[in-house]
């Protein structure tokens, strides 16, 4: 295509063109990645060229669970230290989404006014990304059973994370408590490796994938090497506080975030922020860091609390067995009306096997009020085998939600939902309360 060839030779045109496409798609109300695709096609070097000018380089956040909230925390922590941060806030965690987000931020000459880029990237896309833009930092959270229908096996997913670490030029931050992530350290040669970790007493609340695989009561596999020291350790979690240990001391801070797993990710974010700003008391200002940490609100759908009819309604996103288990553990059923919404669209994963890796005993006493989503009957069957009583089963989300709100009026409510079920629920809720709708 000669025209495209001409344009490709005219670097100076790709950014204005991409920005125009971005404007046009915005006006249309369309997807966020198309302008990124356009600029990638006509100017493949755009992203690398733009990001390589940043004084603190690029930090990549990847792993199965908690990328969005953790990235949000890292950004807010760095901003508290006066850094100007570029991030892919739209949640389009693919390379094209990054290019599209960049187009929104650069000026018409393609310059980005930022000190550092902190990017949330899905494991497979992160590998693609780091091959073209080697990051200075990476933060690898965990490898859990999620979307195995896309990546095949957990060990393969771990290999993807290993490749991200190998391409990192500066510091690699690893989860000490996830054996598949911690082991990545053995494969690295030049990088500085830092860990975030958990107190022994909290380990039980975070089953890693190996712990989960064995049936209850069976011993964990022996022979794990002694754990390395961690830069930041989460020591304790209170009702709305958390205790972190670093630089040889412990500090307790208030937390807006809910759910133990979010707070463990706060330890991850803190470790990365300390690596970027310089650990120790000398460089990073820990008072402002902790203040910023205590103010981080959950990302969209991750333990968000809305108000419906004067009662709280919590949305808990569940994407995989470990996330569902942690959700059930973090948000006890007592006093709440519960709905579960399970869809099996592409973004949710089509395989329903994961429901059988979650134990629902904790819901037995209170029961579940409503089941909905395209796989509502799979969920009903799952609850039947865990002897958890449930109310109505209605695959259509809108009527199920209406019935749930009507029948549980005067009671706090909680909805565990898969990704596309959450989008549908938010659309419905936006008709009766204030909620951010993401299409």
């Amino acid at each position: 295509m000669p025209l495209l060839g001409y344009i490709r030779n005219m670097f100076s045109l790709s950014v204005p063109l991409g920005k125009l496409v971005r404007r046009a798609t915005r006006l249309r109300g369309g997807g966020s990645a198309l302008p990124g695709l356009v600029v990638e096609k006509i100017d493949p070097g755009f992203m690398r060229r733009t990001l390589s000018t940043l004084p603190h380089g690029v930090a990549v956040v990847s792993g199965t669970n908690g990328k969005t909230t953790t990235t949000k925390m890292v950004v807010e922590l760095l901003e508290s230290q006066g850094l100007k941060v570029f991030t892919n806030r739209t949640g389009s965690n693919f390379t094209r989404g990054v290019a599209a987000a960049l187009l929104g931020e650069v000026d018409w000459r393609g310059r980005l006014d930022a000190d550092i880029a902190v990017l949330e990237l899905d494991e497979a896309h992160a590998v693609h990304f780091v091959n073209s833009v080697p990051p200075r930092y990476c933060l690898l959270l965990n490898v859990l059973r999620d979307q195995l229908d896309r990546f095949g096996e957990i060990d393969k997913t771990a290999q993807l994370l290993q490749q991200i670490a190998a391409k990192t030029t500066g510091t690699v931050v690893l989860n000490r408590e996830d054996p598949r992530v911690a082991r990545i350290a053995d494969t690295l040669t030049g990088q500085d490796v830092k860990y975030f970790g958990l107190d022994e007493s909290l380990l039980g609340t975070f089953p890693n994938d190996d712990d989960m695989r064995a049936a209850p009561g069976s011993p964990a596999p022996a022979g794990l090497p002694e754990k390395p020291a961690a830069d930041v350790v989460l020591r304790n979690v209170g009702a709305d506080t958390a205790e972190f240990e670093y630089d040889g001391g412990t500090v307790t801070t208030a937390m807006k975030l809910r759910g133990v797993y979010n707070i463990f990710n706060a330890a991850a974010a803190l470790t990365l922020a300390r690596s970027i700003c310089g650990g120790g008391a000398a460089t990073a200002n820990h008072e402002t860091l902790l203040e910023a940490l205590s103010q981080v609100a959950p990302a969209f759908g991750r333990g968000e609390s809305l108000t419906v009819d004067g009662q709280p309604l919590d949305l808990v996103l569940v994407k995989n067995p470990s996330g569902f288990r942690l959700g059930l553990k973090s948000f006890p059923a007592g006093g709440y009306a519960t709905m579960i919404a399970i869809n099996d669209n592409y973004a949710d994963g089509r395989d329903m096997s994961w429901l059988w890796d979650v134990e629902f005993d904790s819901l037995r006493a209170e029961g579940v009020d409503q089941l909905t989503g395209s796989r509502a009957y799979d969920m009903a069957l799952r609850l039947q085998y865990d002897e958890v009583p449930f109310g109505s089963v209605q695959p259509e989300i809108a009527p199920a939600l209406a019935a749930f709100i009507r029948e549980a009026s005067g009671k706090p409510k909680r909805i565990f939902c898969t990704y596309t079920a959450m989008l549908a629920i938010r659309r419905e809720l936006s008709k009766i309360t204030t909620v951010e709708v993401v299409s």
Partner: protein, 253 residues
Amino acid sequence: MSLETPSAEAAGGRSKGALRVVQLYPRDMNIYGDWGNALVLQRRISWHGYTPELLEYNVGDPFPADVDIIVGGGGQDSGQLVIQDDLQARAAELKGLAEDGAPMLLICGLYQLFGRFFKTRTGAVIPGIGVLDVETHGTDERLIGNVKVSTPEFGEVLGYENHSGQTTLGEGVRPLGTTAKGTGNNSSDGHEGARYRNIVASYLHGSLLPKNPAIADFLIRTAAERRYGTFEPGHPDDRYAVLAREHAARRPR
């Protein structure tokens, strides 16, 4: 709504007898919810009025006596390597049980390893224990998605496949069924799973048994008849299994 289907004991009746289910290598070979199969057997044995006893067998454990049903799941390549030697050491016992008519459910990874061998993409040959006359060849193609199988014994079987090994059946076994959606054993012959004596082997996760209670009840009936001479079924409430099957059958690949 109460969904409890009381067991004979809970209803004040007498248990029709104990049935011992052994999960094979749950620590290393239990992926994509294969635990669900063990749970379904446990509950349905009780719903049929018998007393379930669920045991685990992991690498290095003493092998349990008086096994009534064996259930084995899928694993990652790494899991298969961990259990390989132990499985070979137990080959005679497992083969003896199979030939004696013990019912077994073997999913994915253990289906492959109960066959004659698994030849990896790089040409390495992992020996199986030869209980099933099948062989498996690793490929670069991963077969992933919802599967619908027409079977002569259990009607329509629904599940989800996720494997790159392709299995070919020898003359000593017959297929579990023919795929109506999805791929099954391999990308050429349209067969899914294998049947031999009272063994049901399949690539399907889902988990397989919750939405296919006919297979679960076949395993339980066979086990009861083998131990007690007869099987007196109970009345499990399968209305949600029926509805879940109807909805699952309509979902895309």
